[in-house]
Symmetry: D2
Subunit: 360 residues, 4 copies
């Protein structure tokens, strides 16, 4: 199975890159919520390709049509389904090399999983394009969370070896998260922008690609959200985030750095700031025992370099069962970190809304 997730908010995703349409059905939204459709389109636009030289030239008609669950500008509470029609698809690009299993892509694993019957064009159901409906759903969840004072934001933590500053993990303002949303390359240290752009474009020129990491924050959340064991905050978010293509790692708080710290450095000491419980440090990223402690939830996500590169590669021809050399043709992103970023925010919003329901 693949496409259904959730306990309180259930999402069901569908679509292939070059099929008729992609979309998502969302069940469990509150009724009577007034959706700000401009904000939804703004989020979808952040993910959309073709906006500048750093991303694929493919122009997608990322316009969501809401089919149900939405009446007179408000959610009805019944399942809300939205689809995005596939427009500018060049299926010919793909058919000629359909038997060549592109390294780093899901061509071979999809072939194995579906016995060769999956739609191979443009990656089919494995295409990054299928994340557009997740951004749509996430944009609605974000609005619902913001009404409750919970804000989600992210910045590029690194591209190749260029590393941004980290969030101030005990004090992240609403403003900083809102500012990041409006940047082409969301960075805390904006002076890195030129260097990153240069690296991406140079890599593109070389027919290659780069990856990077994303740091995401959830602020304004109460203590007591989440669960021990199987529906912990970390389990829930990691589950969703590893559904985003190209994600290969996630760490909460100091994550892997904690393996090289002493307990006495790592433990976040509590104190009362008037009536509010706070911690002096936030190495644990706002989560202990799977449950929020009221500090910002913080995690970093590793995004691998785009699998599609222009360089010649070795692979197999699965039909003729032979080793071949080939080049992936078509339009590619030399770097997808900046486009993956709003997707990470979106699935985080879905996950957090699922977790808080019934607690708020």
């Amino acid at each position: 199975m693949s496409g259904v997730w959730g306990s309180n908010i259930k999402i069901s995703i569908f679509g292939e890159s070059h099929g008729n349409a992609i979309g998502i059905n969302i069940d469990g939204l509150p009724s009577g919520f007034e959706i700000d459709m401009d904000k939804v389109l703004f989020e979808m636009d952040r993910r959309a390709p073709g906006k500048n030289s750093m991303s694929t030239a493919r122009k997608e008609s990322d316009f969501p049509e809401i089919l149900s669950g939405y009446f007179e500008g408000k959610t009805t509470g019944t399942p809300l389904c939205a689809i995005i029609k596939n427009g500018d698809t060049r299926s010919k690009d793909y058919t000629k090399t359909k038997d060549y299993m592109r390294p780093g892509h899901a061509d071979f694993t999809g072939y194995a999983r579906y016995d060769g019957f999956n739609d191979y064009r443009g990656g089919g159901h494995f295409s990054g394009r299928i994340t557009a409906p997740l951004v749509f759903a996430g944009a609605i969840c974000k609005q619902i969370l913001e009404k409750r004072g919970i804000l989600i934001g992210a910045h590029i933590s690194s591209i190749k070896n260029i590393t941004d500053k980290e969030f101030n993990n005990i004090d992240i303002s609403k403003e900083i998260l809102e500012n990041l949303r409006n940047m082409e390359l969301p960075l805390i240290n904006t002076s890195l922008e030129e260097n990153i752009k240069h690296t991406i474009l140079q890599t593109k020129y070389n027919g290659d690609s780069v990856g990077g990491s994303i740091e995401c924050a959830v602020i304004g959340i109460n203590p007591g959200v989440g669960n021990p064991f199987f529906d912990s905050v970390e389990s829930t978010l990691a589950h969703l985030i590893f559904s985003v293509p190209a994600v290969k790692g996630i760490e909460f708080g100091r994550g892997f750095q904690m393996t090289n710290m002493f307990g006495s450095e790592c433990n976040d000491e509590y104190y009362y700031d008037k009536d509010k419980v706070k911690t002096k440090t936030n190495n644990n990223g706002g989560v202990l025992g799977g449950i929020t402690n009221g500090m910002p939830i913080l995690f970093k996500v590793a995004i691998k370099p785009t699998a599609s590169i222009a360089k010649e590669q070795n692979t197999i021809d699965i039909k003729n069962k032979e080793n071949v050399k080939f080049r992936v043709e078509g339009r590619h992103d030399p770097c997808i970190v900046q486009r993956a970023l709003p997707v990470i925010e979106a699935v985080t919003a879905i996950g957090i809304l699922d977790l808080i329901k019934g607690r708020y």
Copy 2:
């Protein structure tokens, strides 16, 4: 909610550190499977405390009593429930400081989540002890997987700044995994053992604790296991692994290292080795698009330093709403990485069995 997980294999966990018993109910096991109970006890013993100076002196009676689903030495196919009675518990250790929220522990988050009604003694439901039933369940799943040629094994990848060699990621033999199982400190480079022991004991002497990382491998798995989106191999395993207390990060294949590689370095090129499809490298850790490619599944897990330390710490007294200084008394592990390791293997086995069911 917290305690129920799974699609094909459903597990339901329960228990508190100082309650009557802890346990697990496992639904969806095949019928007629002959359990090798010695192997189950061997796995449970790997996790058990009190074996040497590196772990807590608490002697737990980690003996599982099977209540159901097991008849004449074989699984019946109906739910198999096992419990472990709680024996050597010193509840007094905890009551005197029950209102002191131990830093790094789930005391405060559990308090917030359950409005103060959770059992605080020894961490209650948040105790690492509750992983014993997971090891029990995982030990059965491991046996079922081994019958199908799938083997799971792990080694300590690092303790503090001491780093073991990595698995040879394209060729891991059954023997190496089996050898690791029998080591007190499972290491590829066994010459590090003394150094690690020394570090742990020195840390203990200082009243402090250390963490580390674990590298886990799944070998012998066919291509085509897993799903795009929400039930990907990574999502499934990450979900379970973040349920293990003290885990703060997970990365598949090269993980965060991939963020500093070019696509041309990162992509794993395919080739035919006779009829079998292989990759020349395995940077993706055997998973692409959420689905196995037949190469070893590889991932690393970050384990934070044990939260319980002997040093004095600042925290809050939640009853009197004031800031306090205190020392965590009782018995502690200066390092739990080696005890977490069989738990990681166990939940991996549960996850893999859940994923392959219906495919094998």
Copy 3:
């Protein structure tokens, strides 16, 4: 929540009677299955209104557009989503009486559930029209089951006080089920047809409506399908069937008649018919302990009279909070039993496919 169901086959439904479109997303279908689209349309046509004087004159454009999961005539194995656009909707019919809670309908309960924000037009998400996607999904499941020798069929067991013969419960041929599919009013005793039509039309003339019951059979299923407790055959089918609007009862085998029998009459004695285990009677409807015994699965479903009637009724005006008298205007079915019948077959097919997966 409302719209997601399933373990092995997951369906996610959406839509309102007068919205843009209704539809269903189906996850877990096998890959490479060649769908006979004529058969799908045939099933959808069985449910469609406007075919004769016995059903509503509303002409629906019940044509499913497949958006995903279907490639070159075959299922891909990834989620298959289909939508049906809403065409001939007369929204004006409904707005003038939108605050009048129609007796027998879900107007008031939907209002209470969704705090008045649900789409009231034509029953919105509660409309019988939303069963069209279920028939679409069921038609695909039926084809998959038929490839495995499992056939599902139903007849009208009664309309008002006119009662058809029962299935021969120990021996139902493929032919009889196939014949029933082609009848306008599927009956074993076809001589009742005129009488039933007359009753329905007379009722329509009186501005009233009638109900009836449906007997459904599943033949060709192996022993051993289903589970004790929560996923029994009866639980699974009842869960789905009570999702069909207007269903108010279900009984398996002799059902409520069994309450007036002795155990010695009721027990179905086993015997070997060559190598095959059979029962001499089939009072239990092919299911014992929640699991099939290889005999036909048989159950009856009660369908209440259509709630929309032309007669004047008392009810409340929920906006003005007063008691009112009114007439439901618009187009109504005087009897929906014959249109509910293919829906019952469809959800039965979905349920059975969910249950057998992994067993076949």
Copy 4:
């Protein structure tokens, strides 16, 4: 699978009639709820056998031991597991005829489902005894519901052809439900008691068994609980109730009687009783479109005659693959309707608590 159910309240059941213990793990209970254990034991006692000549002489030690999730007299909010040890089991009764598939029981279907590996003694996991943990869980849910003003009660609607009066379906008092709980044979028309007892004992004397039906009511529930489609009130309750052994039918409100009514008779007209919305009749049993309308929820359940009878029966010897005649030995209930009744109430309580969570 079999043993896990629920969305907001998750239950996981286990055990066999003659194994070590049976039990249930309940996840999702509120924290801090003070359980009245006397009431729990009272409910369990209602189901317990051996109380009089009408039920089996087997004395079960139906005493629940709570293993977890319960601390200082209150629920903790973490999973609450309780077990009941199996005491007075006469395994020898069963082994001599273990290959004789008892008609009306799950012996053959369980054999087929679990390939002969299930525990056959006393029906194993299919035994009615496994409902004791459901009564335990239901007793807790009942208390939680009662705190919110929701009361569940049932009476014997019929035994064989002796039929009790029905509930006054628009006005059921708390008192009548509480009175019924204290009766050995819960009846509205108590003058039938002698006749029913006589029928049951006469049947027992004849080596036979009888069945009957149960009418259950849920009062005090708000409008707006439940969902359209897959988690309707009817779907949820039917799912659970068909998990109770011997249940063969369920109907809501007038159920099958509605098939012989006109719409104008069947529709329940609304009116304002001061500010409260009520219906003049309650043919729909308090549920429309899967959602409560605030009137009592009402349904009837068909319980088949006990499958175990003393009379000689024909069946198969599955080992020797031959037809045989035999008598079921051991202790039997000539009628289980009165013992099934508290189980029906219990699973109804579980289902209602699952549905209302988040709405109340």
